[in-house]
């Protein structure tokens, strides 16, 4: 069913049919029919039959499709045909159909209402025009141009403009009414004045309290500024002061956070926004713990150094500064730790861990501050003072290093930058963990090396070699002396920066080992955690002293050991093995100097002697147990002597030399 067209009560008159037979009428007529009855498309047999039925039976239903047949040639005076029935007009329609029964030409209620409306509008219009005329006549006396412009021509003809005047009329004053009026006005005036006075008093009181508040506020703000803190406009909120407690050289994230709004409390004193709400970790400071086998053996102490009275504004600002410092420190630590994953630095949920040898690890995380409760971990019995000191030292070092990094970034940004290129380099993570890890790894390497060398020298001693030609010394951090003398270093002005720079790059130590057979090893241990190579490098240089056996001492990996041989290792085990090899060769060299008749046929730890046509062989090997010497005949049984750290290989406590001499004696005829 097509939508019923809306009831449109047009005030435009029905078009006058001047030329009923003109063909111009048809298009407009068609469009009117379509608007009224719906498009021709909608015409169906059923709808047509319904129309016919309703035409013949005027008391038909209020179906929207039933309409009286359109009158194609209405007379000008007749009212327009009734519009099609719409839903809400059902009652009207029944009467209209009744009307249609009575007299199809009588106007419907809608038409009547329209006529009434027009009448009342006309009369209202007439009243308005009359009023306009009256007023404009009145006005025309004082302002003729304005008045005459709005007067109607009919009025102008009847009455000349400017002929209506007005004046005020004085009345007789009733004295009694006058006094009453007078009293009333006076009392109203008094009431008004009283209320004004009280309002003024109140206003002045509030003003006084306001002034006191403001004075207190500004005094405190001035005190803060005099102490050196920067007071600025709050970047986001209008008309709010803020104090900048953050650091200028922080990364992008933290620079905007370092601002605290200074708000006024009810009594005027200043309170700063609590950074615990705005910071990432809330009120938390950095904590370093040293763990061994899962137990905490050392822990750093949360010593918050604050100068101000707790609760005062200065105290608040200092606390906020401490929190944001440690916040940033932890953030940068986590960023750097990702780089160092391959040297044993782990990042976990909210903590950074450095794995050291010997089941120890260092854990760095943020510990929330509870100023009231003491930390239960302080009471741990597994804590040792030494390790706690180390933990504290690491914490302090981290804080110093962050400050150093801030200075470095300040230097960097004060220099004119290179030209802009399409690839934008990202700023590298700050070097906070690296100096500490370098130091710890270096220490570990040195102590491991010391252990190895001690073991070897004890074994060699047990084998009877004299102490004079045997021994080692380790000089830690020899690079410091060299670096401190370099001209570039001397030119730096700041003492603190100089000191830190010494320790922040590579660390170097040297160990010199003397072995039997006049073999000298110089081991250079260099630990460095910068991008080129990350880790500890052991460079071993072996020199064989003067010997009668010409240059070649032995063989390592297919290459002859000449006067000086150089090797590099990344693992301490490799160094250990190499030193053992050098000891072997050294011992063999030494044996050869004893001139017991042994010869070295191939370049390894084996020496041979031919006695009575029987070839005897002695093999020297240095291993985990110590120095071991195997002697035997080809095809016969071997005799083995081992000299270790703590024991001698021979039941009679003889050294290697005696053993070999005895064997010589044994086979001598």
């Amino acid at each position: 069913m097509p939508d019923p067209p809306p009831l449109s009560l047009s005030l435009r008159p029905w078009p006058i049919n001047l030329n009923p037979d003109s063909s111009e009428q048809l298009p407009s007529l068609i469009s009117r029919i379509q608007a009224q009855y719906g498009h021709f498309r909608g015409v169906s047999e059923a709808s047509l039959e319904a129309e016919i039925a309703s035409a013949s039976d005027p008391t038909a239903t209020t179906d929207s499709n039933t309409t009286p047949p359109p009158q194609l040639h209405p007379e000008p005076s007749s009212p327009p045909p009734s519009p099609p029935n719409t839903g809400f007009q059902s009652t009207l329609d029944s009467t209209s159909s009744a009307n249609n029964v009575a007299n199809p030409n009588e106007p419907t209620d809608a038409a009547k209402a329209k006529a009434e409306m027009l009448e009342t509008l006309m009369s209202a219009h007439e009243d308005a025009m009359l009023m306009l005329d009256y007023l404009s006549l009145l006005v025309s006396q004082h302002q003729p141009e304005m008045g005459t412009a709005t007067m109607s021509p009919a009025l102008k003809q009847v009455v000349k403009p400017g002929t209506l005047g007005w004046d005020r009329v004085t009345r007789k004053i009733d004295p009694k009414a006058y006094t009453v009026d007078d009293k009333v006005t006076r009392s109203w005036k008094r009431a008004g004045l009283e209320s004004a006075a009280s309002a003024l008093l109140d206003a002045s009181k509030t003003l006084v309290t306001r002034i006191e508040k403001e004075q207190k506020y500004w005094e405190q703000v001035k005190a803060i500024r005099d102490e050196g803190w920067t007071v600025v406009r709050h970047p986001k909120e209008k008309n709010v002061l803020a104090v900048r407690y953050g650091f200028a050289e922080s990364g992008d994230m933290f620079r905007e956070k370092g601002i605290g709004a200074l708000r006024m409390k009810d009594d005027g004193s200043v309170v700063m926004d609590d950074v615990g709400v705005t910071g990432i970790h809330g009120n938390a400071l950095l904590r370093v713990r040293i763990m061994k086998n899962g137990e905490t053996i050392g822990i750093s102490v949360q010593k918050e150094r604050r100068n101000g009275v707790p609760g005062s504004l200065r105290d608040q600002i200092e606390r906020a500064r401490n929190f944001i410092y440690d916040d940033e420190l932890f953030f940068e630590l986590c960023r750097e730790a990702r780089l160092l994953a391959h040297v044993g630095v782990r990042t976990e949920e909210g903590s950074v861990a450095i794995d050291l040898a010997d089941q120890r690890c260092i854990i760095i995380d943020m510990q929330p501050l509870d100023t009231d409760l003491t930390d239960p971990s302080d009471l741990l019995s597994s804590l040792t003072p030494n390790d706690s000191e180390t933990a504290q030292a690491i914490l302090t070092t981290l804080r110093i290093l962050l400050s150093y990094c801030h200075r470095a970034s300040y230097h960097r940004r004060s220099q004119p930058p290179p030209p802009i290129t399409p690839n934008k380099p990202k700023p590298p993570p700050l070097s906070l963990l690296r100096p500490i890890a370098t130091h710890l790894f270096h220490q570990t390497s040195i102590s491991n090396l010391r252990l190895i060398l001690t073991k070897l020298s004890k074994s060699a001693l047990a084998a009877g070699f004299p102490r004079a030609g045997l021994g080692f010394t380790i000089s830690p951090y020899i690079h410091l002396a060299e670096k401190a003398k370099s001209p570039e270093f001397m030119k730096q002005e700041n003492g603190v920066e100089k000191t830190i720079k010494l320790f922040s790059d590579a660390l170097e130590s040297v160990a010199t080992v003397t072995l039997p057979g006049k073999v000298h090893c110089a081991i250079k241990i260099r630990t460095r955690l910068q991008p080129a190579w990350m880790g500890t490098k052991f460079s071993v240089t072996v020199t064989a002293g003067n010997s009668s056996d010409k240059d070649v001492v032995g063989e390592v990996d297919g290459e002859s050991i000449k006067q000086q041989q150089h090797a590099e290792f990344w693992m301490i085990e490799g160094v250990g093995d190499y030193i053992q090899l050098c000891l072997e060769r050294g011992i063999v060299r030494e044996i050869l100097t004893w001139k017991l008749g042994w010869r070295q046929e191939v370049e390894d730890g084996e020496i041979a002697k031919s006695i009575d046509g029987v070839a005897r062989k002695v093999r020297v090997a240095v291993g985990r147990n110590g120095v071991s010497v195997t002697e035997g005949v080809t095809g016969g049984r071997d005799e083995i002597w081992v000299w270790g750290e703590d024991w001698g290989g021979d039941p009679e406590g003889r050294g290697l030399r005696e053993v070999l001499e005895r064997s010589r004696k044994k086979t001598a005829p």
């Binding site: 200028a248 150093y404 990094c405 470095a408 300040y410 230097h411 960097r412 940004r413 004060s414 220099q415 004119p416 930058p417 290179p418 030209p419 802009i420 290129t421 399409p422 070097s431 570039e488 030119k491 730096q492 920066e497 720079k501 922040s504």
Partner: protein, 242 residues
């Protein structure tokens, strides 16, 4: 994390320079420096530079459309108060570490800045002045600039004053005796301000856009302290006339 080496003055090699300029009168200068220090959160770098302008010899059979350009030799004058030098050091221009630089005429651009190509080469050792002379250039002018430099991200803000020798007998001038031998070119003793950004490649549109943004940012930052504007590009014309 090395502190930068500020002793060897290596100048940036060839790049495109986008810049804005301004002027500060001498009475406002101390206040402006103070305000800029606060805005840029760094104290200004102070240094003196020596500019030697050279004019090319024009060969006779050159077609008339070819332009020739003035080139300049640029060096940073060591601070005479630094350790190891006494105040009455004699200044020898030949012993300075020069960079050879040609500043091209600024290009016509819609960007709100002056954009010019700078061709520059640093030198190692040798007689640079003799080399340039052998190439057919003669010394046309010599002046020193007194500079104060501040940095913000990629923008370098330089305030400079040109000093020329007082008398023709002073030759190329001695920067160690500023008060006796040099006078400011500007009789009112004012300072010229330049905000510049270097872009490595003139075809790098993103880089150029970034440079323009940063320049505009700095311009807004120093609004009220210094007025930075786009100057007439022909004011930086280095072509030889006539």
């Amino acid at each position: 994390m090395n502190a930068p080496d500020t002793t060897t003055p290596f100048f940036t090699t060839s790049h495109q320079e986008l810049s804005l300029h301004g002027y500060v009168s001498s009475d406002r200068f101390p206040q402006v420096i103070k305000l800029l220090t606060n805005l840029f959160t760094m104290p200004p770098d102070t240094f003196t530079e020596h500019h030697l302008i050279h004019k090319p010899h024009r060969p006779k059979n050159l077609p008339p459309n070819v332009e020739t350009y003035y080139i300049k030799l640029l060096s940073r004058v060591e601070d005479p108060d630094a350790d190891g030098m006494d105040g009455a050091q004699v200044y020898d221009a030949r012993k300075q570490r020069w960079a050879i630089r040609l500043e091209d005429l600024p290009e016509v651009t819609r960007r709100p800045c002056v954009s010019r190509s700078i061709l520059s080469a640093n030198t190692g050792s040798g007689d640079v002045m003799g080399f340039v002379r052998a190439m057919g250039y003669t010394i046309h002018a010599s002046y020193f600039t007194e500079n104060r430099r501040l940095v913000h991200n990629n923008v370098v803000l330089t305030l400079s004053q040109i000093l020329v020798p007082k008398t023709p007998e002073a030759g190329l001038g001695n920067p160690y005796r500023k008060d006796e031998e040099l006078r400011p070119l500007d009789p009112k003793n004012g300072w010229i301000v330049q905000a510049s950004v270097k872009v490595a490649n003139n075809s790098d549109l993103d880089g150029l856009g970034q440079a323009v943004n940063e320049l505009t940012q700095v311009k807004d930052m120093v609004k009220g302290v210094v007025d930075l504007e786009v100057i007439e590009r022909l004011a930086l014309d280095t072509r030889v006339k006539g």
